[in-house]
Symmetry: D2
Subunit: 109 residues, 4 copies
């Protein structure tokens, strides 16, 4: 039910029914991802931290994830692997003893 | 292996070891997501569409996905459900006969 | 002292000494502008509204403005004119009686 | 005619007629700037580098500049000064002999 590969198949099916793969070069997928993230961000503009519409958040988050998954699929990236690899890198950049309770960026730690 | 819930558990474990949940209000998670998407986009700046470093792409895409998953987790959103719901909405906005082979945005179709 | 055209000349001089105009197509200038705006935004990540470093803000804002000016210059846009035109449009979208003290977006007014 | 201070006065007048200064904390101005830059970027999505609508570009660029100017005005930043200061810094990061005809980022030069 939470299997990413099945989800990606649904997204690819939607894309291919519309013959849209021709537009989905890597650079434009990166643009689309950034644009959708910005639309999600707009839900919070001029608002306090938890003042947003949940229905809109669901839609914008789905848009973000769909482009992220399409970019992963295009380059045969295994989402499980790239996230676990990044967590390992972050563990080195943000050792618990230095970063606990501290939001400072690693290059300023 | 591609189970989203297990992945989210790993991300949350990394966060909680550092006691970072206190910083993760919804608005700042949306900022982080947008900022990471922009870092991914930067891989393509002044470059042609497929000229990018795959290792960097993996890292930036992982960062984007981690904040997207944290935002979903914060609001108990089921990623499978929100994506399938959005695909349904997109099927109405982009009917196959109007949008096949056509990248025009729905409000200009 | 605050003459935009003189400023643009300085920016163009810096660009031309490095022979960078060849990279400055409109799409990549738009990417650069979006990426710099995101770097400015990052100054506020995990922070309260007025908690930022002024020196960093100056630098990031300068970067944003330089790409905005380069994009205007590339298309011979008069910055004075495009801003006054947009203010006029915004006056129609946001009539004072409906929008006074109200941050709601025009399409939800 | 291209005097920035006069332009900023027009923008501030529009803002104050609507009593919007109360919403314009620095963080949200940075969000607005980033969101508007992303809307400008969207004009180029799925398009080749010079395939965009000039009328739309004018409007989006005006929006970007207005928020950049409002942020500068809020902190009494002199736009002329911050840009000339940044050009000086960039001259050190990008010496002509290393960066001529080369789009590589300074930290990879």
């Amino acid at each position: 039910m939470s299997d990413i590969n099945k989800l990606i198949k649904e997204i690819v099916k939607f894309r291919d029914e519309r013959d849209w793969e021709q537009f989905h070069n890597s650079k434009d997928l990166a643009l689309a991802l950034s644009i959708e993230s910005s639309e999600l961000l707009e839900l919070f503009l001029w608002k306090s931290n938890e003042d947003f519409k949940l229905d809109k958040l669901k839609e914008e988050l789905a848009d973000v994830l769909m482009y992220a998954f399409l970019l992963a699929d295009k380059h045969d990236l295994n989402i499980h692997d790239i996230i676990l690899d990044k967590i390992k890198k972050n563990e080195e950049k943000y050792p618990v003893d230095k970063s606990k309770g501290n939001s400072t960026k690693y290059n300023e730690l």
